[in-house]
């Protein structure tokens, strides 16, 4: 779609083969990220955003999942065709990922210093001493107070916010070009959330890193993303710059999401929220045609039976809707 991209995903398809049928978790997703850019990936549960992220790093559990189609080009190479050893050298080094629940992503029986150092040693031939020093340096960079001492602590001794910082340290230790952050602040208190987001954005600028920020919180996206991709039922339904998306959302789902958020405004308390009716579709039983049609307030006859294409409605603003 675009040139000069650091990462380009074309028509990705990742399916899960379960006893109850095939779950098309990601069904034809195309998106790209430029160097140094923040791409926001937004959607609710079941939309496929996490599976997309796992597919990039080929961490999809197999069985029951499998990447069945598409290409993921990173730096000119198709990640899906690389041998596993090369993938391993990319993970944690060129592309890193941080997850939602820091407690379950950190190993409880190792100190945080060891965990960061181990990641460093895995990719670079350095002595244990040097790896440890670098680990402390990285912990300092993520603004953990008194890092030399805290490196000796175990995950359970740290608060949620600090643990998330450790995860970020592990991910950034080797200076990746792309960081994938999967709901990095959802499990945190709102004041800690603000700290972590500020930290991430600061580090991104410092390290000139591209970030894919996955979240369901449109507010976080508005404050941090350059471009936004909205996903629904395993496909992209809208893509635009952050400004375009929030000013003039084109897809009814995006519009619905924005309208259903309670706003912090004065005097508008008795305005009823405009909720999107219905429930998120069961991926085992998707309707034909537009996947959002059953819940869409603007649905018309032409929304069935063929699914609309993702069209560039305005320069840089794509939407998968015949009304856009």
């Amino acid at each position: 779609m675009r040139n000069g991209s650091l990462l380009m995903i074309q028509d990705l398809q990742t399916h899960f083969f379960t006893g109850e049928g095939v779950v098309r978790a990601v069904d034809g997703v195309t998106l790209s990220v430029r160097p140094g850019e923040t791409l926001g990936l937004v959607g609710e549960s079941g939309c496929g955003k996490t599976v997309t992220a796992l597919s990039i790093l080929r961490l999809v559990p197999d069985p029951p999942g499998r990447i069945v189609g598409g290409t993921i080009c990173f730096d000119g190479r198709d990640l899906l065709r690389l041998p596993e050893e090369e993938m391993r050298s990319i993970r944690g080094c060129a592309i890193s990922m941080i997850f939602q629940e820091p407690m379950t992503s950190l190993n409880p029986v190792f100190t945080v210093g060891e965990q960061v150092a181990e990641g460093i040693r895995h990719h670079q031939k350095v002595s244990r001493r040097e790896a440890w020093d670098r680990a402390v340096e990285v912990l300092r960079r993520v603004k953990i107070p008194d890092p030399a001492r805290r490196a000796y602590e175990y995950p359970h001794q740290l608060s949620g916010g600090l643990r998330q910082r450790v995860m970020i340290a592990m991910a950034l230790a080797l200076g990746p070009r792309l960081l994938i952050a999967d709901e990095p602040t959802t499990a945190l208190d709102v004041t800690i959330q603000a700290q972590i987001i500020e930290l991430l954005m600061g580090l991104q600028e410092e390290m000139q890193m591209a970030v894919i920020l996955i979240t369901h919180d449109l507010g976080v996206i508005a404050e941090t993303a350059d471009r936004v991709v909205v996903m629904y039922a395993g496909r992209v339904v809208e893509e635009a710059s952050a400004e375009q998306l929030f000013e003039t959302p084109l897809h009814p789902y995006t519009q619905g999401l924005l309208e259903s958020l309670p706003k912090l405004e004065v005097g508008k308390r008795h305005r009823r929220l405009t909720a999107i009716p219905g429930v998120i579709p069961n991926l085992l039983d998707l309707p034909t045609g537009c996947k959002f049609a059953p819940r869409c307030p603007k649905v018309i006859g032409d929304c069935w039976p063929t699914e609309p294409e993702l069209k560039e409605v305005r320069p840089g603003h794509w939407a998968r809707c015949i009304l856009a």
Binding site: S45, G46, I280
Partner: protein, 293 residues
């Protein structure tokens, strides 16, 4: 966290009875094995080619025969057909295994429920008692109890095994109750005004049924093995009753010279225990995949 991931796939015990049955390989295989042995036990009188307790005339020629055409499992010292004895033994062994479990489970469940729900003093008392019984070496307890009951036999075996095994069930149930007690759906019905009885018997107990059921299958297997052990020590059932344990005891002396005397009862025990374990695993996977870890 993905909604889908949290939904889980466990079925409830009630679900089992209301048609949500799922034939996992474990359940099929386990049930098949147990059906086989169950039928063997029930139809033993019909299937046995010889009377297992009758000592034949002409003893000399028929004693300690290895397996052959007219005696598939061979014969024992007194010329009795081993196949017939194994078949009859199935009756007693399975009977003991199941009866003990049926007695032990309600006792353990009541104790576990009360200890878990009430906590505090009641829990301490019940649990210290349980710990005391568990701390006693089972064998010593078995010997002591048998001596107390004066005569080893079917009844003494059942009593002894009951006395030893209730502790496992009690602890299992207590642990379940402790974690369930904090669940929000329990808080909700307390807020609705439910009394203690309703909470314990209508809410806590049914949610424990799944692990209890699984534990029962493993329990029966344990009982059968324990009976064999007791029989081996001479604390088990007495002749003319036959059990797999008593057969092992009789054949032990001849282990190297005439191995079939132990091999066949031993195989029967092994297969039955295996069957119960496989069934238990299968049940557990269907009822609550989370129990696996």
């Amino acid at each position: 966290m993905s909604e889908r991931a949290r939904r889980g796939t466990g079925r409830s015990v009630r679900g089992l009875f209301s048609g949500q049955w799922q034939w996992s390989p474990g359940i099929v295989l386990g049930s098949a094995i147990l059906l086989f042995f169950g039928l063997m036990a029930l139809l033993s009188t019909l299937l046995a080619p010889y009377d297992p307790t009758r000592i034949p005339e002409g003893l000399q020629g028929l004693s300690l025969l290895p397996p052959r055409g007219d005696h598939w499992f061979g014969t024992d010292l007194l010329g009795r057909d081993l196949l017939s004895r194994v078949l009859y033994g199935a009756r007693i062994s399975l009977l003991i295994g199941i009866v003990v479990e049926l007695v032990v489970t309600p006792i353990g469940v009541i104790i576990g429920l009360f200890a878990g729900y009430f906590g505090g003093r009641i829990d301490s008392v019940l649990m210290r008692t349980t710990d005391a019984v568990m701390a006693f070496p089972a064998l010593v307890l078995a010997i002591a109890l048998t001596a107390l009951l004066e005569q080893p036999g079917l009844l003494s075996v059942i009593i002894v095994l009951t006395a030893v095994r209730w502790t496992t069930v009690a602890r299992l149930v207590r642990v379940q109750v402790l974690s369930l007690r904090e669940a929000e759906h329990i808080a909700a019905i307390v807020a609705l005004g439910a009394g203690k009885g309703r909470i314990i018997f209508r809410h806590l107990l049914p949610n424990c049924l799944a692990p209890i059921l699984v534990a029962m299958t493993f329990g029966v297997a344990s009982n059968i093995l324990a009976e064999a052990g007791l029989g081996f020590l001479g604390l088990g059932i007495q002749p003319p009753m036959v059990s797999w344990g008593s057969l092992l005891a009789e054949g032990a002396v001849y282990l190297t010279a005439k191995p079939w005397l132990c091999v066949f009862p031993g195989l029967a025990i092994t297969c039955t225990v295996l069957g119960f374990h496989v069934l238990g695993d299968g049940l557990r996977d269907v009822l609550d995949p989370r129990l696996r870890s």
